[in-house]
Symmetry: C2
């Protein structure tokens, strides 16, 4: 199994409440994704929305001279989403249910970032 | 001291690495803010950027049918920002340095939200 598939699957399987994970380019083309077997989500469409949102956030961060964006977490009524920026082109997003373990998911994406970066 | 002033000051003073906090309406008018004495930040301008960003995020969340946005955390090279949505009109944002205790700040904003809401 390639490292990309391995990372998204492991992030989902090892984080309580995680539903899906996706590695995507900022232009909305997905590189790898994994959905928990029983979960129904339009993951690719969600990923494209996150890609757009990340663009908005990066522009706002520039305006504020806050530097590059590294991580974004988002809690809505239905989901918790954690996004880790990998480089100028790619990001990885983990989607959890509202009671999911965001801290664990964030940790797993952080520690797997270096091995993803080596392949990107 | 009014509850608004109390909450922003306490969130900053009791969170390690916190720099400033602001309660703001989504139209960019601030209700209350507190900066750590030695910190220089254009907090009002940052707040307006967050208000705009929150609007973008809320629209994306609607598009994804993910429901209302409750919390947003953002890590950049220079800051960590945690935003808690209070109601349709107001939000509170805490700004930390990159090594600040995001978990503690998030907790403090969460537990103080009900008392803020009573006054809004």
């Amino acid at each position: 199994m390639m490292i990309f598939e391995e990372v998204v699957q492991r992030a989902v399987e090892e984080t309580s409440g995680a539903l899906a994970a996706i590695i995507m380019a900022r232009d909305g083309i997905s590189l790898s994704m994994y959905l928990k077997p029983e979960v129904v989500l339009d993951l690719e469409t969600m990923g494209i929305e996150y890609a757009n949102l990340l663009g908005d956030i990066m522009r706002a961060s520039e305006t504020m001279q806050a530097g590059g964006v590294k991580e974004v977490s988002l809690t809505t009524d239905r989901y918790v989403v954690h996004i880790r920026v990998l480089n100028a082109e790619y990001f990885v997003a983990l989607i959890l249910d509202p009671n999911g373990n965001l801290g664990k998911g964030r940790f797993l994406l952080r520690v797997s970032a270096p091995s993803l970066l080596k392949e990107l």
